[in-house]
């Protein structure tokens, strides 16, 4: 029986890798995730045959296990089905946090067993104990950190929160977690109190690490926690001697790290900066001093004329478009303009929205052609030839201070050169600054005009305006 299960795990790990590979192309992506899903179901079913699980319906362990599986699946299924596409980032953060929590809980059971003097699923051994503790720390941090990320994106929590001496507290917490982790990992038998303190500290550390991080950095953070959960799963896989967990967890850990690096690179902020400093904390004020010009308002009809009689329009969507659910209207407007022979392109900044590719998903939902969606390197040379750059709900990713002002916190971040278009129209709800809290010089430029209002309404007005022409 055990040989069959091991074979199933072996095949599962292989299918996961093939599935992930297939997910890197739009043509095979759907097939890839379905294969991975089938493998997951088969692996879970096979696990019922594991020697550790008594297949006796009278067993309280089995009963509770089935209840837990059904309850967890049902809640996740309903929430994943119901959630709006725009809220997907926080849902991914939540599911990821659950995975991290599960890994930490596995370690908790094993460590509690050790504190009772039992061998548990793992043999006694320093290496195994250290791995369990490492997985527990990483899983617990990922769990509570993802929960905070979820709360922030869901709007349940203030955007950034900094305690006095936040950095010092974090360092202290980190040292405390290390000390108790060391105690738990090296002692035999393990002290039950130490295990409890260790987990509480690790959970608090995850919260404290995530609290000061602003909305603009969330994609990087979610991706990082995703990689961390993978690593935690791999470590617990070593503890339980489970090859499927080791391989799948490690693959996610390394691919997630790469994805995190790609994102951090796009923002030109090292990962350490994202984690240990928050946007606009000290230097934000310095960047506001030298703004020239003033914001000029434009009416929707004038903006519609400007676009309808141009040759080329580049649309720059940001998080504001997601919030306003304006992607369908935007697509409708794009079609109208294209019908008039105008070249319509969509410019996507790598970190626009709350996740890499967030904008792509939303535009795909609205049915926008792939070929018209271009990323930073492709579209930037085209801005000078565009008659209109329509910025909708994007802010920091088009802020020219990233090129010009070395004092600005976003200095050096690659941006979309929307300011180089002949005319810039910015659709914006109000006059406030973006998530980073930095004033956007683009809004004050001579060729920029502001169209105030909710994204969806503003685009609807633009559509009405174009139709009248």
């Amino acid at each position: 029986m055990s040989l069959i299960i091991d074979t199933v795990y072996f095949i599962t790990a292989a299918v996961f890798i093939i599935g992930l590979k297939q997910m890197s192309s739009p043509v095979t992506a759907h097939r890839g995730i379905v294969w991975a899903g089938v493998a997951m179901v088969v692996a879970s079913l096979a696990t019922f045959g594991a020697p550790q699980i008594a297949l006796d319906i009278g067993s309280i362990n089995l009963q509770l296990m089935l209840v837990a599986i059904i309850a967890g699946s049902a809640v996740a299924y309903v929430s994943a089905k119901r959630v709006a596409m725009t809220d997907m980032p926080q849902m991914i953060a939540m599911y990821n946090g659950m995975g991290g929590g599960a890994a930490a809980a596995i370690a908790a059971v094993e460590l509690v067993k050790l504190s009772g003097g039992e061998a548990g699923g793992m043999g006694h051994g320093l290496t195994i104990q250290i791995l369990a503790v490492l997985g527990a720390v990483i899983g617990a941090v990922s769990f509570s950190g993802s929960a905070v990320a979820f709360a922030k994106l869901q709007g349940l929590m203030k955007k950034t929160l900094r305690l006095p001496l936040h950095q010092v507290i974090n360092i202290g917490l980190f040292i405390a977690v290390c000390v108790f982790g060391y105690l738990v990992a090296t002692s035999s038998p393990v002290s039950f109190d130490h295990v409890i303190i260790f987990f509480v500290l690790a959970i608090i550390l995850g919260v404290m690490l995530t609290l000061p991080i602003g909305g603009a950095d969330m994609p990087v953070v979610i991706s990082l926690f995703n990689a961390l959960t993978g690593l935690a799963v791999a470590f617990e896989g070593f503890v339980l001697n489970n090859a499927a967990m080791i391989i799948a967890g490690t693959v996610v850990g390394s691919s997630g790290t790469l994805l995190t690096q790609l994102m951090a690179k796009a923002m030109n902020r090292p990962i350490s900066n994202v984690l240990f400093s928050s946007f606009g904390s000290d230097s934000g004020a310095a960047a506001e001093e030298d703004i020239e010009g003033s914001m000029k308002e434009i009416q929707a009809n004038d903006a519609a004329i400007m676009m309808a009689y141009g040759q080329k329009v580049i649309i720059v969507p940001g998080y504001g478009m997601a919030v306003a659910q304006a992607q369908h209207k935007l697509k409708e407007m794009g079609d109208l303009l294209e019908a008039r022979g105008i070249d319509v392109k969509y410019a996507i900044h790598p970190v626009a929205g709350r996740m890499p590719g967030h904008m792509n998903v939303l535009l795909a939902e609205a049915g926008v052609d792939y070929d018209n969606i271009l990323d930073l390197e492709e579209i930037n040379p085209e801005f000078p030839t565009a008659d209109v750059a329509l910025v909708i709900g994007a802010n920091d990713v088009v802020n020219p201070v990233a090129r010009s002002n070395p004092d600005s916190p976003i200095y050096g971040m690659p941006i979309l050169d929307a300011d180089k278009a002949q005319n810039v129209i910015v659709i914006k709800r109000g006059k406030g600054s973006g998530f980073s809290g930095i004033e956007n010089h683009l809004f004050y430029a001579d060729n920029t005009q502001m169209l105030y209002g909710d994204g969806q309404k503003a685009v609807a007005e633009l559509i009405a305006g174009i139709k009248q022409l």
């Binding site: 296990m65 599911y95 659950m98 809980a105 799963v233 339980l240 967990m245 890499p356 792939y370």
Partner: protein
């Protein structure tokens, strides 16, 4: 039993595999891919089930219960979210073909 050097080899090779598999992904698929890899680490469900099977006493059973429920949530939620995202790309594809 996987331990010692063979375990390290598995770890290293898996790490390189993950890196290679992801390295040439178009930006357009970054979110579905993150969601997909989020689903893949839902395999933690298998470990949670094994631990739950061995749990003894109220405390262990309670933690095990939480572990299994959260792991199942990770797997199912990750899967459904990924499928929903990818279906959108499919619609875009079909419309593109129709045009």
């Amino acid at each position: 039993m996987i331990e010692g050097l063979p375990a390290l080899y598995i770890f290293m090779l898996s790490a390189f595999t993950g890196y290679e598999v992801i390295s040439r992904v178009p930006v357009i698929l970054h979110t579905p891919l993150m969601s997909g890899s989020n689903f893949v680490h839902g395999i933690v469900l298998v470990g949670a089930m094994i631990v739950m099977g061995e749990a003894e006493g109220t405390l262990e059973l309670s933690i095990g219960f939480v572990a299994v429920a959260m792991a199942a949530g990770n797997a199912v939620g990750g899967f459904v979210a990924t499928i929903r995202m990818l279906e959108m790309f499919q619609t875009a594809n079909k419309q593109q073909g129709a045009n």
